[in-house]
Symmetry: C2
Subunit: 385 residues, 2 copies
C-alpha cells in the first residue's frame, strides 16, 4: 500500500445558497482545492453526496461533476453513506492512490439541501434511517437522537447545561471561521430557551440544513514531496465500520460500535493512541452527539462527555480541542460535504493556517464522520511533522 498525502484543500462559504446549484458548489470547492494544491493534475475523482436523488432529482454525479469541472473523461465514483458520505469519499480516494490506480485523486463532498421544502428535506434525511422500521412510522433524526440524549441523561446525569455548552463552544469556534453558516456566538440561555424540537433537544441543539461543498486532493507522499507547496500532511490511519441502521436493533442505545471500531482501526493503522492526538473534528449533528462521540473515541470515559465539555477540555484552549471549525452546529451540515470539510479543517490546522482559531503546536488530528444514528462511521488520522 502506498503512503498517501493531502496536498490541496478547498472550501467555500456555506449557507442557504439560493443563487447556486449543486454542480456550481461542487465545482467551486474543487477549483479552490486545485488552486490551493499547486498542481492541475487530477487522475480520478470521488464525490461524496448523500441524497442528490431526493434533494435535487439528480443522480449520476460521477458523470455530471467531472464534466462541469473541466475534467471530462476522468474516472469518477460517487459514494454514499448518509451523513458519512464525505468521509467515505476521502477514504475511497485514498484507495485510488494507495492501490496505485491513480496518482492524483480528488475527493469532493457536496449537498444542496435547500432546493426542496423543509418537510421534504426531513423526508430526505430520514432515508438515512431504517425506512421500514423507523422512517415510515414517523421517527426522524431529532427523534432518534432525543432518545439517545434522554437515556444519556438518565444513566449518567448529563444536564441541560452540558448539552448547551457543546453548542456555545462550537458557535464560539465557528465565529472565527469565515466559511461558517452561523458564525454567531450564543449563550447557554439562548440554547435552553430555544424552541423544542424533540424533547430534550431544542433548536440550538440541532445542526442546520445547509448548502455546501468541500474538496481535498490526495497523492502519494513521494509526489507530495516533489510539489512541496505546503508542509507535508499525511493520512496515516483510516477506519470504516458499520452498525445496525435501526436503533431498536442495538442492545444498548449508548454503545456506538461503528465509532469505536473505526477509531480502533484508524489508530492502529497510524500506530497511535487517542492520547497522541492533538485535536479532533467530530460529528456534532446534535449536541448530544458530540458528548457521546468524545466518549466513544476514548477522549473521556463513558458519561464524562458532558462534564468535560463544561470544564473546557474540548474548547480551543483546552487540552483536547474538539471542532475548532465550529463543527456541524455552527459551520453547517451539508450532509455529503461534512466529512470532507472536517479533513479541510484538520489540514488547515496542521499547516498552521487557521488564524484566529489556530490550535497551538497541532501535529496530529483525528476526524470522525458518521451516518444516521451511528450506523456507519469513518475516522481519519492526519499527521504533519
Amino acid at each position: 500500500m502506498r503512503d498517501v498525502a493531502i496536498i490541496g484543500i478547498g472550501m467555500m462559504k456555506w449557507g442557504e445558497l439560493w443563487e447556486k446549484s449543486l454542480r456550481d458548489i461542487a465545482v467551486e470547492a474543487a477549483i479552490n482545492c486545485i488552486e490551493d494544491s499547486g498542481t492541475n493534475r487530477v487522475d480520478s475523482l470521488t464525490i461524496g453526496c448523500m441524497s442528490s436523488g431526493v434533494f435535487n432529482g439528480q443522480e449520476h454525479l460521477a458523470s455530471l461533476i467531472p464534466d462541469y469541472l473541466g475534467k471530462k473523461n476522468i474516472p469518477a465514483t460517487r459514494v454514499e453513506s448518509a451523513c458519512a458520505s464525505g468521509g467515505l469519499a476521502v477514504r475511497t480516494a485514498f484507495l485510488e492512490v494507495a492501490s496505485g490506480m491513480s496518482d492524483y485523486s480528488l475527493a469532493i463532498g457536496v449537498e444542496k439541501m435547500t432546493d426542496i421544502s423543509g418537510s421534504m428535506a426531513t423526508y430526505a434525511l430520514a432515508t438515512a434511517a431504517d425506512q421500514d422500521y423507523e422512517a415510515f412510522h414517523g421517527v426522524n433524526f431529532p427523534g432518534l437522537y432525543a432518545m439517545i440524549a434522554r437515556l444519556h441523561m438518565e444513566r449518567y446525569g448529563t444536564t441541560r447545561d452540558q448539552l448547551s455548552e457543546v453548542a456555545v463552544k462550537n458557535h464560539r469556534n465557528g465565529a472565527l471561521n469565515p466559511y461558517a453558516q452561523f458564525p454567531q456566538t450564543i449563550t447557554r440561555e439562548i440554547v435552553a430557551n430555544s424552541v423544542m424540537v424533540a424533547d430534550p433537544l431544542r433548536l440550538f441543539d440541532c445542526s442546520p440544513i445547509t448548502d455546501g461543498a468541500a474538496a481535498v486532493l490526495l497523492t502519494t507522499v513521494e509526489e507530495a514531496k516533489k510539489i512541496k507547496k505546503h508542509p507535508l500532511v499525511t493520512i496515516s490511519g483510516i477506519g470504516l465500520a458499520s452498525d445496525t441502521i435501526a436503533l431498536c436493533n442495538r442492545k444498548d442505545l449508548l454503545k456506538f460500535s461503528a465509532i469505536e471500531l473505526s477509531t480502533q482501526v484508524a489508530l492502529k493503522m497510524a500506530g497511535k493512541k487517542i492520547s497522541n492526538i492533538d485535536f479532533a473534528e467530530v460529528h456534532d449533528c446534535f449536541t448530544i452527539a458530540e458528548i457521546f462521540v468524545i466518549e466513544a473515541l476514548g477522549i473521556v470515559k463513558p458519561g464524562q462527555g458532558g462534564p468535560a465539555t463544561i470544564d473546557g477540555l474540548t474548547s480551543l484552549e483546552g487540552s483536547f480541542p474538539v471542532n475548532p471549525s465550529g463543527g456541524l452546529k455552527s459551520k453547517g451540515h451539508p450532509v455529503g460535504a461534512t466529512g470532507v470539510a472536517q479533513i479541510y479543517e484538520a489540514v488547515s490546522q496542521l499547516r498552521g493556517n487557521s488564524e484566529k482559531r489556530q490550535i497551538k503546536n497541532a501535529k496530529t488530528a483525528l476526524t470522525q464522520n458518521m451516518g444516521g444514528s451511528g450506523g456507519s462511521c469513518v475516522v481519519h488520522i492526519l499527521e504533519t511533522k
Copy 2:
C-alpha cells in the same frame, strides 16, 4: 497493486418481486455468492445501487445491508454511477483488495424498482440524465436513445431489422438463463410490431423495469489459490471513464468517449487487444445500445454493428458472442445490479458452468456497463487459464 481473483458469484431469479424487499434481494444474492465461494469470510462490502433514495426512500445501504447480511460492523461503501453502479461496485471492491485494505471483499449490486409507480420509476431513471438541461424538460431515456438510434440509421443505414435482431438474439440467449426476467424467445416481427415508445424505439427495443440483485466475492490470487473450489478467474483489467452527462454537450452523438476510453484502459492493463477476447457482456439497455457499444469496443467498425448482428457474429455460436446471459433486454435491468450480474455471467462462462448457453473454450471475457446515455462506463477483463 495486488492481483485480484473472483472466488464467489451469486444471482437470483429477477423479475417483479412484489413479495421481497430491497434488503431481502440484496441479502439473497449475497448469500448465494458466499455459499458458492467456499468461504464465509467477508472483510468489507461495496453495494452498487443507483437510486434507492427515490425508488425506496432508503439511502445508507452501507449500514442496512451488512446488518441484514449478518455481517454487522464490517466496513461498507455504497457507490452510484446510475446504471453503471454495479460495475463500479466491483471496481471499488477491487481497490479494497488490490490496495491491501481488505483480503476478502464482497460486491453486491441491487435495485428494487417496482415499489413505486411506472411514472415515478421513469422520473427516478431520468435522474441519471442532466436534471437541469434534460430531465426537467421532459426528455427521458427512451427519448435520448431514440435520438442516438435515429442518427445511427441516418449516418450508417442501420435498419429496423438490425435493431430487432439484437432483441431476438438476446431473448434467445435469455431463454437459456434460469434467472432471466423474460426468458421468452421472440421474432423480429414481434419487435417491429410492438408499441412505439420513442420513434424509432418500440417496446421490445427497451430493457424492462426489474427487481434484482447479484453479488461477487473478490480476494487476492494468492488466497484464491488456497481455496481453489473453482477454476481460478482473475480480474486482469479494469477501466472507468466519464463523459458529459447531457447528450447536447457532445460534439458527436455517435462518439462514446467513456466507452472507448474505459475499454482502452482495461485492455492495456490486461495486456490484451479486443481480438484476444472470447466474448462480452455489454450494456444493451436499448437495442441501439448493443449496436453502438460493439462498435465503440472495437469488435466491429463504426456502422457495422447492425449488419454484424444480422450476420450472427454476436450470437452464441458466432465468432464473438455478446450477451450470452440474455443481456439487459431479456435477463432484466435492475439498474444497480446489472454490472455485477455481467460479472456473474462472465465468471460462470469462464468456469464452464453455463450449461445450455455455454460458450465453447471461453478463456477471456469483457464486461461493459454504462450509466445514463454513456456518461460513465466501467469495463472489466476477466481471465481463466
